[in-house]
């Protein structure tokens, strides 16, 4: 089972991600709706991949990523951003600009999410 950590201030979003991904039987999903507690959850859960929202109260996705990168155990965990503030066309440009992190523009379908997770994990394994 691959471990996925979904961080989003919108509980309904993380709940749906968890339901869908766990239903595949391939992934175990942990969710965090408070960005401030995300690092603690991640340290404990040791995810293989992090799904991270961009706009959140108190801290944005970039701040959370910086925290993760400062932790030796989480430094190399791939991050996929889930964002509501870019369109699909911009997502690819953002990926190039943010050092290779992938961006998925909300609303994203399960098929699209699964493909992205698979490709990212495969890429990280290489």
């Amino acid at each position: 089972m691959r471990r996925i950590l979904a961080i989003d201030d919108e509980p309904s979003v993380t709940r749906m991600i968890k339901l869908n991904l766990e239903k595949t039987g391939v992934y175990e999903v942990q969710t965090a709706n408070q960005p401030k507690s995300a690092l603690a959850v991640a340290k404990k859960f040791q995810p293989d991949l992090i799904l991270l929202d961009v706009i959140m109260p108190d801290m944005d996705g970039g701040d959370v990523e910086a925290q993760m990168r400062s932790d030796p155990g989480l430094r190399n965990v791939p991050i996929v951003y889930l964002t509501a503030i870019v369109s699909k066309q911009e997502a690819e440009t953002k990926r190039l600009a943010s050092g290779g992190n992938r961006f998925l523009a909300k609303p994203v379908s399960l098929k699209e999410l699964l493909r992205c997770i698979r490709e990212t994990l495969d890429g990280a394994a290489d």
Partner: protein, 410 residues
């Protein structure tokens, strides 16, 4: 007679006086030759009148005296005999008085005539001056009117641009905020539907249909929000020297299936060795795909799409007859134009001014967000270009995009 006298007035005065005296002598000779029985006395008045009218009153008086002297000489030479020797001189005196009276009357008449002429001349000159002033004023009024009209048109255009800019800005600000708030719930709905899709109940026909309708609705809402985001923040341009023909070919490839499905033939009229220009390839693809899809949708029964590219000096902007939009440009600047023409139904005249307005659409509700052409407009403007949608005289519409190559290496 009158024209002759008018021309005599212009002759040198001594010459006229001499001529009049000669005429007096000639009349005297005729008087002498005709004898006592035939009276020609009245003819002495001719040179006197001519001298008075053409030269002056003094000349007329001199001629009157001269005329009497000639008359008296003729009388003496003819040997006229009277009952008293002084009667001859008395007759001469009376005749002189008559001649003098005629001279004075003529001189007065001439003075009045001259004064009248002078007044007419002055009035004519005043009228001519007033006429010139009026013409100048009329020209000034026309020029001012034309300037006012021009300013009015410019003001109207500027006002429209300001309204358009304000509209764009407010829509853009609204869009970014709305997008964030709407996309999260949409994400929940989409993923919730994905989850429900995997349940055994979803295989039931009725529930499956409901889920599909819900998914379509969510996707449509997502597409509108994405378009809003594209509209509000077209982003920075990734500019490279590009060949417009190649971008058009790629756009044609993207809509190939749509065109085949709608039985639309494509005619290419692409200028070879088109100057390369600084463009964001992805964004320009979006522009042409939008133009091609609009053209296809305007031909529900099939038709022909003509794609044309050409370059021209910056002064000229369109090959289309009757369309010449002049825009300032350097002499070395080259204007590169791409046109997409369709053989469809054209655009209603009242809609032409609004096609680039955000949310303006002629499609049925739910079939279009009305943002496609607004985004196109914004992208082209970001490139410093011009986009125009117009009806063709032959029928159908023309979508034209123009850019200026600022003399860069091509």
């Amino acid at each position: 007679m009158v024209p002759f006298v008018q021309s005599v007035v212009c002759w040198p005065k001594p010459f006229v006086v001499a001529l009049c005296f000669l005429l007096l002598v000639a009349i005297g000779v005729v008087d002498y030759m005709t004898g006592m029985e035939v009276s020609v006395t009245v003819f002495y008045l001719i040179p006197i009148w001519l001298g008075t009218w053409a030269v002056s009153r003094r000349a007329g008086l001199c001629l009157a005296v001269g005329g009497i002297l000639v008359w008296l000489t003729v009388e003496i030479f003819q040997g006229a005999s009277y009952s008293h020797p002084l009667i001859q001189y008395w007759n001469a005196f009376v005749l002189l008085a008559f001649f003098v009276l005629v001279v004075l009357l003529l001189a007065t008449l001439k003075a009045s005539s001259d004064e009248l002429d002078q007044r007419v001349r002055v009035r004519t000159a005043e009228l001519a001056r007033t006429n010139t002033e009026l013409s100048d004023s009329q020209r000034d009024v026309l020029r001012t009117f034309s300037d006012l009209q021009k300013s009015h048109v410019e003001l109207k255009a500027t006002q429209l641009q300001l309204i358009q800019a304000a509209k764009m800005e407010s829509v853009g600000q609204l869009a970014a905020g709305v997008a964030h708030e709407v996309k999260n719930p949409l994400m929940t709905i989409t993923m919730g539907l994905d989850y429900l899709d995997q349940t055994p109940q979803a295989r039931e026909q009725e529930l499956g249909g409901v889920l599909k309708d819900m998914r379509d609705a969510a996707e449509r809402s997502g597409a509108v929000i994405n378009e809003l985001l594209n509209f509000s923040a077209p982003g920075k341009l990734n500019l490279q020297m590009e060949n417009l023909n190649s971008i058009i070919e790629q756009s044609l490839g993207l809509v190939k299936h749509e065109l085949i499905k709608r039985q639309i033939a494509v005619v290419r009229d692409l200028q070879e060795s088109l100057p390369r220009i600084l463009l964001d390839r992805n964004k320009m693809e979006q522009v042409f795909v939008n133009g091609l899809i609009n053209a296809a949708q305007a031909m529900p029964g099939g038709g022909t799409v003509t794609v044309r590219t050409y370059s021209s000096p910056a002064e000229m902007t369109s090959r289309a007859p009757g369309e010449n939009i002049v825009q300032a440009g350097q002499q070395s600047d080259i204007r590169v134009t791409a046109e997409i023409e369709d053989s469809g139904i054209g655009i209603a005249e009242e809609d032409l001014a609004r096609v680039f307005d955000p949310f303006f659409t002629t499609k049925k509700p739910g079939k279009g967000s009305g943002l496609g052409l607004s985004i196109v407009h914004q992208i082209v403007q970001l490139h410093g270009g011009m986009v125009k949608l117009s009806n063709r005289e032959e029928g159908g519409a023309r979508f034209a995009v123009q850019f200026i190559n600022k003399g860069e290496a091509s």
